[in-house]
Point group: C2
Chain length 413, copies 2
């Protein structure tokens, strides 16, 4: 695929491969009878196969996993370079990682395969690599660090765990099959051996393929449709808002790249769920069931922040999340949210350790996430139901062309 055809995002990159095409023919039969056939050897009922057969090509102007539709399962992993591992070691690592990612996203076994995902199709696997601020000093590339990769400022209410924040290197792994996602994580972890140690791993999820009867925005663990107002990859201005502007000179390696802000945001579900639904809806500014803004219409109706109710009150309260987070309230700041929920079990106090692995993509974090979060931390009624427990920011280079690896323009020039 030519790079020049790939810049617009999802529809040209998410293609059914050959396996999926063959599988689709058997889907009607598999759907009606498939449940009985799984897992017991000797049954002979063809299952759905389009989930496994969907592949997202690794090479392109942008890395995958940004405009790619959110997959059902995700792993976020950060690594730190081992002492003594500098630029050459990092280059070797990125070369190994890219080769493994390219193979696995195409459904081929990577070098040193453990065969965990042997029978599965690529299942929409994407692998996305980023560099943290600490990466540049350790690789003697401080002068190549882009100005947009700012340190994350503290925000009111932050309760950050240092050991689950930051990292020299970051990988976002997503797939519609959990074994495919775990396989990629394991292979990339092994490929780092000797060069980088895993700093943290977070596991998350979204809706499984085929769980709903029509495309819907996914719900978060507060029960709200989350992502309704995300910018659409086909919308005018999307590329300028989400992808770094092309430059020449020392930061040209970021052409086609983006910046990811990663926050583990725990939801105080015990508190949240004590609110009646109509109060929850006022905190968000949308109906919980349909996602329609309280100013009326359906989920996709534009929000009318000026609408008033018959009693004269604002239809969308002054501290409603969608009012405070709206681009119009933030000098037009736009970011693309593409996260995963997490649900890790009970905390020592009995409350669920659950919430959102929040990932925001933008061309410039200062005018993106940081500007929005400064506003939210002071004025958003939702804030009191959330705890930001980890934070990281990564420069995510453009995609690799065939034959090259992610970050090569930084590490070899």
């Amino acid at each position: 695929m030519e790079e020049s055809t790939e810049g617009r995002g999802i529809s040209r990159r998410c293609l059914l491969g050959a396996a999926g095409g063959a599988g689709a023919a058997g889907m009607a039969a598999g759907g009606l009878a498939g449940a009985a056939g799984r897992g017991w050897a000797g049954d002979d009922v063809p299952p759905l196969a389009a989930v496994g057969g969907t592949s997202v090509p690794f090479h392109g102007r942008h890395q995958v996993g940004i405009t790619t539709p959110p997959q059902a399962y995700g792993h976020l992993v950060a690594f730190d370079l081992r002492p003594g591992a500098g630029r050459a070691a990092a280059a070797g690592l990125m070369r190994r990682w890219s080769a493994a990612a390219e193979a696995m996203t195409a459904g081929r076994p990577p070098a040193g395969d453990d065969q965990i995902a042997l029978d599965a199709g690529p299942s929409s696997l994407t692998v996305t690599f980023g560099f943290g601020r600490s990466f540049f000093a350790k690789t003697d590339l401080g002068d190549r660090m882009p100005a947009a990769l700012v340190p994350m400022p503290p925000f009111p209410g932050d309760a950050l765990d240092h050991f689950r924040s930051g990292g020299d290197l970051w990988i976002q792994i997503g797939a519609d099959d959990p074994l495919v996602a775990v396989h990629a994580t394991r292979i990339l972890h092994k490929a780092a051996s000797g060069t980088a140690a895993m700093r943290w791993q977070m596991n998350g999820f979204n809706r499984a393929r085929g769980a709903t009867d029509r495309p819907r925005t996914v719900r978060n663990l507060m029960g709200q449709l989350d992502g309704t107002n995300n910018p659409h990859p086909f919308a005018p201005g999307f590329d300028a808002e989400i992808f770094a502007a092309d430059t020449t000179g020392p930061h040209a390696w970021m052409n086609g790249g983006s910046y990811a802000v990663v926050r583990r945001i725990r939801m105080l579900l015990d508190t949240w769920e004590k609110l009646p639904v109509d109060r929850q809806e006022q905190v968000i500014g949308r109906r919980k069931d349909t996602g329609a803004p309280l100013s009326g219409g359906t989920e996709t109706t534009p929000v009318n922040l000026a609408a008033v109710r018959p009693d004269g009150a604002l239809a969308i309260p002054g501290d409603a999340h969608i009012r405070v987070a709206a681009p119009a309230s933030n000098g037009g700041a736009t970011l693309l949210r593409r996260g995963f929920s997490y649900y890790d079990g009970p905390r020592p106090d009995g409350a669920p350790d659950a919430g959102l692995l929040f990932i925001a993509w933008q061309a410039d974090p200062t005018t993106g996430f940081i500007q929005v979060q400064r506003k939210l931390a002071g004025a958003d009624g939702l804030t009191r139901f959330l705890r930001h427990e980890s934070s990281a920011i990564f420069a995510v280079p453009g995609g690799a062309a065939s034959g090259s690896y992610v970050g090569q323009a930084l590490l070899e020039s």
Copy 2:
């Protein structure tokens, strides 16, 4: 559905509901173009819907989640009764839990719903309840505890974490959609409030629906097909081996029930993956790619333990896992394994905290899991790549008839 038609297991219980039937009609179109439509509001491409539309009826002679095909996503949770909560409180809890499980498995919102799963179909959700030995003393039902619910003996090599072992009450939750599984776990946790506190939670997974192009035994994180030799629910003798024999008298509440042994078995993947594949195959006794026994044939070919190679050596080595675990090596002991893999991130030493949430079902744990594990712990070549890190055993009563709740025959008579 009449109880009398349900005893044979999976094929009559896993039916597409109305939502699934409607969804199936749109699957071919959804499969071919659906990937581009997910997650971005405004796209209008119908997705697969058979995954969400599949339902497993809650009521029946047996509880669901035993012969039900393994789902993609699972939670195992244990609870302890709070001080002062006795038989009446436990009865109230089982009534609330059963009502919530019945609603959610049918795709209806439970009481006090948080709407996390609002748009999803039931997605093959099953909820299975069990009682630990400690439950009976706390509810003054010691004389009703069946003899089969023995304390788990220690095994060589056990490295058990007390805090993730045992429990008064146990719930196994499985679904093909992660939000549906989390929703059920959250709802059941809330329904326990005031009566029981969560003791531990473990999250696991299997293959997603539709990730492979034909039905296959799922792979575990060692890359092996795992479960090939499981007894088939339609096989002669299955019910007698897996389900408790019907009795009258104080233990009749277990009629239609089974016993679950739950072990969190960590895999020493760093060690395992250093073995060449042919050595791994000798440890297991099967080919890694196809699952065929080393005595020849395909995955489903019966194992020939007597087969010898041209050089005179046993085709399946003396310490191969499938030899030592074979029913013929264990006085005919048969159990049904139905587990989930887990992959929780790096341990402090850098190794992956990953392995199998092993669940064995049998009519009698003494002649089932305990007999097999005694043999394995001494002779199985696989043992040195495994660490058993938690252990629990539960009496899982028969299923509830419509209008009653799981455990009612124990708690109200």
